[in-house]
Symmetry: C2
Subunit: 393 residues, 2 copies
């Protein structure tokens, strides 16, 4: 007998799990290469060679007991320094080792920050559509996620819905740019609006409101500058993952970077440290931490994703689909051809196309196409997308 809240959550989640299950079934029937599986965000570009080379070098040269022993909860100091140096060099920031907490990916960092900052019933504002697990991270710690709907033409933050989302219980605003599920990169204008409204709300409610910037896709952008959020708002915490940058999502390594300018920075860091223990993490995997000493500025070949993006966007719009041109990440958000995006996804399966319905992201009427797949799959899928489109005419 599981808890009532878990029972409720599992019932709500069934629709999403169904996509993956049906995908597996289809692959079993038709063969994996004959399914256009755009349903999940699993990187498709090889990790840079330096990743494995570094791991092997560490295993060959470092004393195993120390290498695999407990680091501090917040990580190896030299690794934290290395991350601080990287950020300072790239963004002219002034992070110190005391501002960096190594985490088991960005999801871990968000969960830890929810545990650090939220009492029961406290609120987290995020822009919708949003990555579906955001709700779970917040609700697991008894908080409440409050979505602010983006402008439905541009998928940029909208000032009116954003303002309306605040209350005296708001402790966190959680943003994600480049965005999952939309592929949108927030413009500098959007970031300035977010920062201005947040400063006003801090003033109004008389307490800090932290901006958590979830940035696993920062290095996956296509010819566009991504504003460095702490330059616009002091109370900013960057949460980062190497999952996509290095194509190592199974290894769970990332960090939280607390702006040295933010309110109560030491107190929040202490809470983060304690949360590493309280939530059972203890520390981010030691070998993966040490790997970063050589790989902190490495990255996968992003042009592979860009090539997919170009072919898919151009082809789909040419067919007649309405899409937002994604500037980053590896997702394309497309309008469904009927009101019910779930039904649209069901119909697409007849063409062996698997997509995630927008409903799952609080973005009803849309679908998410994850184009982190081999180029050939994108190419082969175009006639199927054409047939799907024609079936609605």
């Amino acid at each position: 007998m599981i808890s009532k809240r878990m029972q409720k959550s599992l019932e709500e989640a069934i629709s999403i799990r169904d996509i993956f299950e049906e995908g597996k079934k289809l692959a079993a029937i038709y063969g994996k290469e004959n399914i256009f599986d755009f349903s999940i965000g699993n990187p498709s570009v090889e990790p840079p060679a330096i990743v494995n080379d570094t791991m092997k070098e560490i295993l060959d040269t470092q004393a195993p007991l120390a290498l695999h022993g407990y680091p501090s909860n917040v990580g190896h100091p030299e690794v934290r320094q290395c991350v601080a140096d990287y950020l300072n060099g790239k963004y002219a920031a002034s992070y110190g080792v005391e501002n960096i907490c190594m985490t088991s990916g960005a999801a871990c960092a968000i969960a830890l920050l929810c545990n650090t900052l939220l009492d029961a019933g406290d609120e987290v504002v995020t822009f919708a559509p949003y990555f579906w697990e955001y709700k779970s991270y917040v609700e697991t710690l008894y908080g409440k996620l409050v979505p602010a709907l983006c402008n439905q033409e541009t998928l940029q933050p909208d000032e009116t819905t954003f303002r309306a989302a605040f209350s005296e219980k708001t402790r966190i605003v959680l943003i994600n740019t480049p965005n999952n599920p939309t592929g949108a990169v927030y413009t500098e204008e959007s970031i300035k609006m977010v920062a201005n409204v947040m400063r006003e709300m801090e003033e109004k409610y008389g307490h800090p409101i932290y901006l958590i910037s979830d940035e696993p896709y920062r290095k996956l952008s296509y010819g566009i500058e991504i504003p460095f959020i702490p330059d616009y708002y002091d109370d900013t915490i960057i949460v980062y993952s190497y999952s996509k940058t290095l194509s190592i999502p199974g290894e769970r390594i990332g960090y939280a970077a607390l702006s040295p300018k933010m309110a109560d920075v030491n107190e929040v860091f202490a809470g983060l440290t304690a949360s590493m223990r309280y939530m059972g993490y203890v520390n981010a995997p030691s070998l993966q931490q040490k790997m970063l000493l050589k790989c902190v500025d490495a990255a996968v070949d992003v042009s592979v994703y860009e090539k997919n993006r170009n072919l898919l966007y151009d082809s789909l719009t040419q067919i007649g689909y309405e899409c937002i041109r994604p500037d980053g990440a590896f997702y394309l958000f497309m309008k469904a051809l009927e009101e019910d995006d779930w039904e649209f996804c069901q119909r697409a399966k007849k063409e062996r196309i698997l997509m995630a319905p927008g409903k799952a992201f609080y973005g009803p009427g849309w679908v998410r196409i994850s184009y982190c797949v081999p180029y050939q799959i994108v190419k082969d899928s175009i006639p199927a997308f054409k047939r799907l489109y024609d079936s609605y005419q």
Copy 2:
């Protein structure tokens, strides 16, 4: 500004953090080798060579994208099968792949299970003294930890306090044998008592009460048989970590094994799967999972710890200290020489001996000595323990 509950928790935790900080200061003044640091449970025996050899072989032979990609939330199926086979072979059990969830260590597994099984205010019973983080795992998920004091002569579970700890809100009993902090191994008689009382309470309250058996020290026992808990109680979940068995606590790898005989096993497994996502874990580190395919039955040289245990126990009792002879783990529980165990630890520092006060483990009047240190440190510490003892006569 952090949450009120985190603020409260950090204030309560200060005393424990102080030990570690003072230890570092002492080491800086006198040199690490001149400090008898028995304060923390960091393994001191080299990992078996097969651990690093296997990791290197995997890195050399497996396709990086698949190796470091996302496995299922619950882990690679072949690794889960390997763990099931190991348990079935060793204990004549009948685990299937569907009963094993790979986790980022045992702490992770306990936290996930609390999230799966507890609604706010639900209760978890554990035997005191207990590992201090147990309280945090439970309270982080808004549960309540209810301690049942062990028999103070034997440090075995006590039936009277155990019975008194139950209420209609009890969902979990959490046990740890071999035990941190006491080093006690629960006897078969103790386990039978626990199982009988729990069956009675399940009957009385009309719902399953799950026994979580936290077993990171199972392979660290000295000539004593450790009962296999699922043989005594159907609703048992083993949570295991390779941190101590393979001396790799920094890498965070372990599992939860749900007895095929337990109530609502599939529902609990689904909750565990969802909790991997909801708490931000996503999956246990992929490389470390695959390492287990060759290392599932490897273990460190336990005789090193046993040698420390023998010298320390014999010497301390000869001096006149009152100790419980530890049958497993690498902890020795010793009576403080004054009522206030914190003050006793402070006084021991004058002899450069660092120990953890029993208060921190809900075991006031005792101290925990972690003997996972070089043999020479144990040897050199004996005269210091003698001087400490004499100072009280």
